[in-house]
């Protein structure tokens, strides 16, 4: 395929200002033509493709392929590549249609794993939970590696699999995949650049891998400084971001001068302006504002308000504390938490918290500070418009275009994981209600204060949510079947196919799964049954795919526990009750969300509108900018859902269920 240059080709090259340490080590493809090469110096073993076609270097600018004004050493260059004004291009295999222009150095020095195997100190800044990053790392594998450190043999075996994978990545030659662009960049050292990547205007990239693909190119933009990193497909890192020992997952965006050290961001995270240190950011962790520091914490489906920050030490034994913020939570502007804290799912944290608390058993809470106490209002966030909007927007904002989506993400709002917590929360509130005398203003639980008055009320809200979940699962099952000729058929449809155990459920950064399944998976890693990262990937995908049936099975058990009836033996009266309760409670919940949405249009929300005018001007100005409650698309859609739900009935044989 490759041949030596002919004397006449060498002569032409020399006439065009080219030189070589030894023309004998410069090989070319058969149909090579030297014309497009000028002022280039070749050193070491160089293999050149053909340079015949133009290529689109950047938007609207096409240039002829070729090698101009560059030093090329120990490289294999594909077909129709443009290498122009590159001070040093050393030890790289370069795919077809690549453009490298106006770049200082693109070099591999010695042997490297291109960022693979870099251990980053997530969650606990003081170490102990080191996460070895690699270019196929998923949120779930990372979760297992970071959270299950107490199972030494499991961790050792999993790390062994990763080391085996990383060792295969070691090389003294880098690759720049087909159609990649490296433009106007100062230095790229020991970096593997994936196909279709765009590196444009970056400062220094060192020891890393940029994964990219035709369906979802990665973009590394202006002034980025990155060292010891993995960037997965479809990611965008730009705007002077400074990232060190950092993993960036698929579809993530980091920019606007964000700085990150020892942190991991998984799918669809967004981080701008602020700072991350030992951050373990699961899918959809979002921080957009200046002065926001996320440190030593584990987050997912999270939104950080401006100025949010946490402390992980009090200048005693060092930064040994950590924080857990479960999925769906938010922190308000200038909220502060002194780690360790554990914030339950779908909660909102406001104010400054100098006390350590654990509200993991109280999801959907508002957590604010009063006189130095962390006060929890449980279930409050069940009815807020923000919670509903968040849960709807996540699936819509899945930016990942790579057909191979690494993070397994379950978007269910109510899942066994969440409902289990609601049930526990309800039981806890009941216990606290029993044990807290009326003379006390607050009950206390794991460092948090709960207003005694809320104990009974919040429990009712939790129970309402449980009824909604139960009914929803049963109704979906019936709807899916379509064929409801009689109760025999209904019972057959409702009978779960999967077996449920008493295992509790986990949220592995998006993968909702029974604890028992993870125990089995961990045992399989320990025993060697899972002997490669591919095996592990397959096992995790299987768990993700088993969710629907397993979740339904869990739900069927819950029906039995709460109603004393096996779904396989359900009577029409019991089914009617489930459907009616579901409709009544769902409509109630939606109406409460609507009521919350209405506040966004009330008198207080209009403050600052219609400056200089009267009340009528204020209303008209507000409506011009914000629209009206009635015309709001979210409100309209929720109202329609309520109407649809009211109208929904089920015909079983000759009976109609669910009429209102």
């Amino acid at each position: 395929m490759y041949r030596n240059l002919s004397d006449s080709e060498i002569s032409i090259l020399e006439q065009r200002g080219c030189s070589a340490d030894d023309w004998g080590t410069v090989l070319v493809k058969d149909n090579f033509s030297p014309g497009p090469i000028s002022n280039a110096h070749f050193a070491g073993e160089v293999k050149l493709g053909v340079f015949k076609e133009k290529l689109l270097v950047e938007k609207g600018i096409s240039k002829a392929s070729g090698i101009r004004n560059s030093h090329v050493e120990n490289c294999t260059i594909g077909d129709n590549v443009l290498i122009s004004n590159v001070n040093s291009l050393v030890n790289y295999d370069i795919g077809d249609n690549v453009a490298i222009e106006n770049v200082g150095t693109v070099v591999v020095h010695g042997e490297t794993a291109f960022g693979n195997g870099t251990e980053i100190e997530v969650l606990n800044e003081g170490g102990g939970r080191e996460l070895p990053i690699f270019d196929r790392l998923s949120a779930q594998t990372a979760y297992l590696l970071v959270v299950y450190r107490h199972d030494k043999s499991f961790i050792e075996n999993l790390e062994k699999l990763i080391r085996k994978y990383v060792d295969k990545k070691r090389s003294s030659r880098g690759s720049i995949g087909e159609n990649a662009r490296i433009l106007n960049t100062v230095s790229v050292c020991n970096v593997d650049v994936g196909s279709y990547s765009i590196v444009s205007g970056a400062s220094n990239l060192e020891e890393g891998t940029i994964v990219s693909c035709a369906e979802d190119p990665s973009i590394i933009g202006e002034d980025v400084i990155a060292k010891d990193f993995i960037i997965q497909s479809g990611s965008k890192v730009d705007g002077g971001a400074v990232i060190t020992s950092t993993f960036i997952g698929q579809g993530a965006q980091i920019g606007k001068q964000y700085s990150s050290e020892g942190s991991a961001f998984f799918a669809n995270c967004e981080a701008f302006h602020g700072e991350a240190c030992s951050l373990f950011a699961g899918p959809y962790t979002v921080t957009h504002h200046k002065s926001t520091l996320l440190i030593a914490g584990m987050f997912s489906f999270y939104n950080a308000g401006s100025g949010t920050n946490q402390s992980n030490h009090m200048y005693k034994l060092g930064p040994l504390h950590q924080g857990i913020v479960e999925r769906g939570s938010k922190t308000g502007s200038f909220s502060y938490m002194l780690w360790p804290c554990h914030v339950g799912a779908f909660s909102v944290v406001m104010d400054k918290h100098g006390a350590n608390f654990d509200t993991s058993e109280l999801p959907f809470s508002y957590i604010n500070a009063e006189d130095g106490k962390s006060v929890v209002t449980p279930a409050m966030n069940l009815f807020t418009v923000g919670t509903v909007r968040d849960s709807e927007k996540w699936p819509k904002r899945d930016r990942r275009g790579d057909p191979d989506k690494l993070d397994l993400i379950n978007f269910d709002f109510f899942s066994p994981y969440i409902v289990e917590k609601i049930i526990r929360g309800s039981e806890l509130l009941s216990e606290l209600h029993e044990s807290t005398p009326k003379t006390k203003e607050f009950a206390t639980h794991k460092g948090a204060y709960i207003n005694r008055l809320m104990l009974r009320t919040a429990r009712r809200y939790y129970d309402l949510a449980i009824n909604v979940y139960l009914g929803e699962k049963v109704v979906k099952r019936l709807e899916k079947s379509g064929d409801l000729t009689g109760m025999e058929k209904v019972r057959e449809v409702l009978q779960p196919k999967a077996k449920s155990d008493d295992s509790s459920w986990l949220d592995l950064f998006g993968l909702i799964v029974p604890d028992s399944s993870i125990s089995t998976l961990m045992d399989d890693i320990k025993s060697g049954k899972i002997s490669s990262l591919d095996d592990l990937r397959r096992a995790l995908v299987q768990l993700h795919e088993a969710y629907e049936e397993e979740a339904y099975s869990w739900c069927a058990d819950l029906v039995e526990k709460r109603l004393g009836t096996k779904v396989g033996e359900i009577t029409i009266e019991e089914l009617t009750k489930i459907i009616t309760d579901w409709k009544v409670n769902s409509i109630k919940l939606k109406n409460m969300v609507l009521k919350d949405a209405e506040k966004e249009f009330d008198q207080l929300s209009r403050i600052g509108f219609g400056i200089g005018g009267d009340e009528d001007t204020q209303i008209r100005d507000f409506e011009a900018i914000r629209g009206t409650y009635e015309d709001n698309s979210f409100v309209k859609s929720l109202k329609q859902e309520i109407e649809d739900m009211k109208a929904k009935t089920f015909t079983i044989g000759e009976e109609t269920l669910g009429e209102m």
């Binding site: 209002t377 009974r456 009712r460 919350d596």
Partner: protein, 79 residues
């Protein structure tokens, strides 16, 4: 229970929860705009009324109540 007694108790509860002077609470005072109740305090008010009057209110409907006078009428229906 007489309506006047309900009103008296409602004002006592409102004063306690919103930490305001009972004398400053008029019948037509709006919980949010006049008395400054936020979302959490609104929920607390509902819970406090339930305890005070030993009733269980429909939260969805209770949220519709805007004023002290409205609360008196709403609660009276449960008694």
């Amino acid at each position: 229970m007489e309506l006047s007694e309900v009103k008296l108790k409602v004002k006592q509860v409102v004063a306690r929860v919103l930490k305001t002077d009972e004398a400053d609470i008029s019948d037509d005072a709006n919980f949010i705009f006049d008395l400054g109740a936020d979302s959490m305090q609104s929920m607390l008010l509902i819970a406090a009324f339930e305890e005070e009057f030993d009733i269980e209110m429909d939260v969805e409907k209770a949220q519709e109540v805007q004023t002290v006078g409205g609360a008196v009428e709403f609660i009276a229906d449960y008694l």
